[in-house]
């Protein structure tokens, strides 16, 4: 996926440290993410992934180090100011839904930022929520509420989009909609940061992967290189996503990591018949 110059901002963590009640969650993390990059942050539970991203929106403040979004030092901005640049979708959508209808909820952020409704309709459309637009968000199943929360953030058209476990609980169709929406933002030059355990999803959207463990960066590599390398993933407690595993097992050209790439690389193979 190619990133175009556009409305994205570079994101930078410099020697960042953070602790919860004495328990160190981040132990000197430095990352430089150029504008327009789609970065995935992986790592085991408790590695510091969510902590790292919450520093971007001022919900947490580092104990040491510096966090910046474009030319803004996050320490100098309030969370409501940062919201103009950084859209954050929490892991649990119920933390950010409060209006009486889906459309009102999705429109809340853009209106507050003085934007029109164009982004609202676009986000509702691409996540296939138009049919539920007049429903109360809490009348929808939890996975659908997750899409509503994402739509609300997409509608604000942020230059930096941060998503914490965006596919957890989603069915295949919902997951496909999220993938398509993120690919469009990447093409528009938006900087995207996803925290995820879903390596197949990460393979579909990410250009670069950072792996955290116990608050430090233990891997930082292009997605195609890391996800196709079972030997490099094993010590990180990870396995290649299915497309990469199929590619490796059959020695497919181009070392595909995505479903579409893998299927294309399989073009022309002959299959044993049904039930074989």
């Amino acid at each position: 996926m190619s990133s175009a110059p556009g409305r994205g901002h570079a994101v930078r963590w410099e020697a960042v440290r953070f602790a919860y009640d004495g328990a160190e969650a981040l132990r000197g993390v430095s990352l430089d993410v150029p504008a327009g990059t789609t970065l995935a942050i992986l790592g085991p539970n408790g590695a510091g992934k969510t902590t790292l991203t919450r520093l971007l929106i001022g919900l947490l403040r580092p104990r040491a180090g510096r966090v910046s979004v474009g030319d803004w030092d996050v320490a100098a901005k309030r969370p409501d100011e940062l919201a103009a640049r950084v859209g954050y979708v929490f892991q649990h959508a119920d933390q950010q839904l409060f209006e009486r209808t889906v459309r009102r909820d999705v429109a809340f952020g853009p209106r507050r930022l003085g934007l029109g409704d164009g982004g609202v309709e676009r986000a509702l459309g691409e996540l296939e929520l138009l049919g539920a637009a007049e429903s109360h968000p809490y009348d929808l199943p939890a996975p659908a509420r997750k899409l509503v929360a994402l739509a609300g953030v997409l509608a604000m058209e942020p230059g930096v989009l941060v998503l914490d476990e965006p596919t957890a609980g989603l069915d295949r169709a919902g997951r496909d909609r999220v993938i398509a929406a993120l690919r469009r933002r990447s093409v528009e030059g938006v900087t995207v940061v996803v925290v995820s355990h879903d390596l197949a999803f990460v393979a579909e959207v990410a250009e670069r992967i950072v792996v955290l463990r116990e608050g430090v960066v233990v891997a930082d590599a292009p997605a195609g290189r890391l996800l196709g390398d079972a030997a490099a993933l094993a010590p990180l407690g990870l396995e290649p996503p299915p497309a990469a595993a199929v590619g490796a097992a059959l020695g497919l050209p181009g070392a595909p990591i995505r479903v579409g790439e893998c299927a294309a690389a399989l073009g022309g193979v002959r299959w044993r018949g049904a039930g074989a």
Binding site: N45, A142, G169, P242, V246, A249, L250, R272, A274
Partner: protein, 249 residues
């Protein structure tokens, strides 16, 4: 647990969430449930576990027989299952068996076994409120297992877990079945269902649309999608080894 022609509707809902569902879940088995959002997977778990309409309200028709009262449920949202009374993980996990009136020795033994099964012994003295989502989910599953349920219902129990934690949790389910527990687990994660469940129910519009072994009823793993897009004839292989076996070389 058996349902016979069960229909269930939530309070105020225009249409039932479950429609004419008949099935039996045997002790010592792992049954998976999957389906699109709104298909009725979570509702099936609530009804099968006896939690709906008792806790949700609504109307149930048809016949439901649950041959045990040792039933536990695990939700995808672990913080909603904390007692709020325990200041350590050990106390949290011990709360269930202690509330059942078990002798102190049995409570402690069940607690330690559950902490070990979920790999959270190292968190035993931590305050549950300071744990990450994934750590908390494992603690919640441990607190449920400590009560040694005979019917265990899990709704997307690995949603908070890292891949290693999710694999470990799903590997534990057949072990629980071997100990005699009837396990009913719902998830959109077809890959793990294919590896874990001996039987899968696919829900559509509140009905059980398909019911059988994973290879016979699932068709939406990433590997199956690759096979379909590459022109493989149905039934589609669900995992890498099965796909490789279908390629003529």
């Amino acid at each position: 647990m058996a349902l016979d022609a069960v229909t269930f509707a939530y309070p105020g809902a225009g249409t039932p969430a479950l429609l004419d569902v008949s099935l039996a879940i045997e002790a010592g088995t792992v049954t998976g449930v999957t389906g699109a959002v709104g298909a009725g997977t979570s509702t099936l778990l609530l009804v099968a576990g006896g939690f709906a309409p008792r806790l949700t309200g609504g109307a149930l028709s048809g016949r439901r027989d649950i041959a045990t009262n040792r039933i536990s449920i695990v939700f995808a949202t672990p913080w909603t299952q904390l007692t709020g009374l325990a200041t350590t993980v050990r106390a949290e996990v011990a709360f269930g068996p202690a509330s059942l009136g078990w002798p102190r020795g049995s409570v402690l033994a069940a607690c330690e076994a559950a902490l070990r099964d979920l790999g959270v012994e190292h968190l035993a003295d931590r305050d549950p409120g300071t744990l990450s989502g994934g750590e908390l989910q494992r603690v919640v599953v441990a607190s449920v297992l400590a009560m040694e349920p005979e019917l265990l219902v899990l709704d997307d129990p690995a949603a908070e877990l890292d891949p290693a934690g999710a694999d470990a949790l799903y590997a534990l389910l057949p072990e629980l079945a071997r100990r005699g527990t009837a396990v009913l687990v719902a998830t959109p994660d077809s890959e793990r269902l294919a590896r874990t469940a001996e039987r899968v129910l696919v829900m559509e519009g509140g009905r059980v649309a398909r019911d059988g072994p994973p290879a016979a009823v699932l068709d939406d793993t990433d590997v199956a999608r690759i096979a379909w897009a590459a022109g493989c004839p149905a039934p589609y292989p669900l995992d890498v080894a099965a796909l490789v076996a279908r390629v003529v070389r």
